[in-house]
């Protein structure tokens, strides 16, 4: 069940009442923020609330990069994989991070703490390589400093 607070927040993104379904991407964001990922039940709930079919909403949910239709860890690490970061050492950073966490790209650590995914250009190309953890951006990332960066994310 969508809580009243979530429903209210979704409503606040309906700017034109005749276009209720337009808020569906914002709704997916909000529900994912609360639940970590979008399971089938959440999908059905959001669809019903906005007057869409679940399949229609799934078509949207699976189109975009930032919505998870599978479980993820408590913190999602997005490593910038685009060209400026690639030139500045993306591959080394990626290998070090994956080895440190003991996972492959796209996987979640056994303790459910982190999921690592590649991300397209994070838009801070003069400070490459870069990654995000949740809402936080890290630039000029030194692979040797990864442990300290990850430490606060429990």
């Amino acid at each position: 069940m969508l809580s009243d607070a979530i429903k209210q927040e979704i409503e606040s993104h309906i700017h034109e009442p005749e276009h209720r379904a337009a808020a569906c991407t914002e709704a997916l964001r909000i529900v994912q923020r609360e639940r970590g990922w979008i399971d089938d039940e959440s999908l059905a709930e959001v669809a019903e609330f906005l007057g869409m079919s679940p399949h229609e909403l799934d078509g949207v949910a699976t189109f975009f990069n930032l919505i998870h239709r599978r479980p993820v860890g408590r913190h999602v690490i997005r490593v910038c994989a685009s060209v400026s970061c690639w030139v500045m050492g993306y591959e080394g950073l990626r290998e070090k991070l994956l080895a440190h966490l003991g996972v492959e790209m796209g996987e979640t650590t056994a303790d459910g703490r982190f999921t690592v995914v590649p991300n397209q250009c994070l838009g801070c190309c003069d400070r490459a390589p870069a990654l995000m953890i949740g809402r936080d951006l890290y630039r000029d990332v030194n692979p040797d400093a990864l442990e300290a960066i990850l430490e606060p994310y429990r």
């Binding site: 993104h13 700017h15 034109e16 276009h19 379904a21 337009a22 808020a23 569906c24 991407t25 914002e26 997916l28 964001r29 906005l50 869409m52 078509g59 949207v60 189109f63 975009f64 990069n65 930032l66 919505i67 997005r78 994989a81 685009s82 060209v83 400026s84 690639w86 030139v87 500045m88 991300n119 397209q120 250009c121 994070l122 838009g123 801070c124 190309c125 003069d126 400070r127 490459a128 995000m132 809402r135 936080d136 951006l137």
Partner: protein
């Protein structure tokens, strides 16, 4: 950021401590004066005329004249409503990091630009379409929007006059194709972000079939100073007939990569100098001048002036104005492979040549880089660079991919051939 030797209308006011200008600070340097002047003394058509006379061209990459675009919107009592103004803040072109600074540093200048543009086309509703990863910009825009509503610059009866405008922040859930303006409109409508057929153009039939203007962040940030200081002043900022300044960036192995506002017509070499030149011991081999979708240039192009008309004369485009450097210790084939991986992943899947062609290109370049290239691979790549080019796919994403691909196949031909001949990458 500010530099006293230049007039810097976009960044001159941005603070060096990394905090954004508050509403009060922005007003103290003349912010929102252009909105006050326009709403009390200029007809909407006058605002459009001023932007047209200034020669402002779209900063999102294509360079379409902004005033001419606005003038295509139906006006007058018979015009369909609501009309929309949409800010393209989806900045996701690899190597591009210019709108981030404008959004984070001075969100009110963008909001003022939105109000002026919306007034010019008599829009009723405006949206800022912001990429989901720009969380700092999200928080700052939320705050700035709140301030602007409180001060009466947004909402019903702006500054007590007859015109009203609602401005909403929409957070994207991520896909490069959302930056393509018609795909962006589908995303705003809550649909899969595949592009639409053009024509009809959004100016006539955009969001929910209503007249809509989509403009880039940097484009709109230029509007308040143009309205405040006039077309002649704006034209005078540039070193070439293209009016104004431009955000220029450098990424890659320069000494001090960064972002600077400089006159249009600043040369590639001068921009590279701002970045301190190449790191010691490295030699410049290639330059992608304006984001991933532009053709490679080379060290022989340092004297080329960056503007919309000059860069095409040497076979590339200014694009977003943020250049990516290739040095002699980085493998060009690997770099092209990374770019093709991006375009293949971000293909929206709507049309066959792009959906099936780009993954093929990615695999072939990947095989060459991995030492498994075959004799005829370069022909396969050349054919794709041609067949995915401008006009042959449903939108400009695939042609964007062919720009670095096609130019690299010529400029770095020896490197590609050596990979195939030696069955290995000499850089790895």
């Amino acid at each position: 950021m500010s530099d006293p030797t230049h007039d810097l209308p976009l960044t001159g006011a941005i603070k060096t401590d990394g905090t954004p200008l508050s509403l009060r600070e922005y007003e103290a340097i003349g912010g929102y004066a252009a909105v006050r002047a326009a709403l009390s003394g200029l007809a909407p058509a006058d605002v459009t005329a001023r932007v047209k006379d200034a020669g402002l061209r779209g900063r999102g990459g294509a360079g379409f004249p902004t005033g001419i675009k606005w003038a295509l919107v139906p006006m007058g009592d018979d015009a369909p409503h609501p009309k929309y103004l949409v800010v393209n803040a989806d900045e996701m072109e690899p190597g591009t990091f210019k709108d981030r600074l404008l959004l984070e540093g001075n969100p009110h200048q963008l909001i003022e630009g939105v109000i002026l543009a919306a007034y010019a086309i008599q829009a009723d509703i405006a949206y800022i379409f912001l990429r989901g990863e720009y969380t700092v910009a999200e928080d700052r825009l939320h705050h700035a929007l709140h301030e602007a509503y409180e001060a009466g610059y947004l909402g019903r009866h702006i500054l007590g006059g007859p015109w009203s405008l609602g401005l909403h922040l929409h957070m994207s859930i991520g896909r490069y194709i959302c930056g393509e303006e018609t795909a962006l409109l589908n995303a705003l409508e809550g649909k899969r972000a595949t592009p639409r057929t053009k024509p009809p153009f959004p100016q006539i039939s955009g969001l929910w079939g209503k007249p809509t203007i989509v403009n880039n962040v940097e484009t709109l940030c230029n509007v308040p100073p143009i309205v405040a200081r006039g077309a002649e002043w704006f034209k005078g900022l540039s070193r070439t007939p293209n009016g104004g300044t431009k955000m220029f960036g450098v990424s890659g192995k320069a000494k001090r990569p960064g972002l600077w506002e400089r006159p249009l017509g600043t040369t590639i070499g001068e921009i590279l100098d701002l970045a301190g030149g190449m790191r010691d011991g490295l030699t410049l081999r290639g330059i992608i001048p304006g984001g991933a979708s532009t053709d490679f240039l080379g060290p022989e192009h340092l004297d080329v002036q960056m503007d919309f008309d000059t860069v095409p004369k040497v076979g590339s485009r200014m694009g977003t104005g943020t250049m990516i450097l290739l040095d002699d210790r980085t493998c060009p084939v690997g770099m092209v492979h990374n770019l093709m991986q991006f375009f293949a992943q971000e293909s929206c899947g709507w049309c066959t040549p792009c959906r099936d062609g780009l993954p093929w290109v990615q695999k072939v370049v990947g095989a060459i880089e991995a030492g498994q290239g075959r004799e005829d691979d370069l022909d396969v790549l050349r054919r794709h660079a041609r067949l995915l080019g401008p006009g042959l796919t449903f939108c400009a994403l695939a042609p964007g991919a062919t720009a670095p691909l096609g130019s690299a196949l010529v400029r770095f031909k020896d490197d590609f051939e050596r990979h195939i001949r030696d069955q290995r990458c000499a850089w790895n």
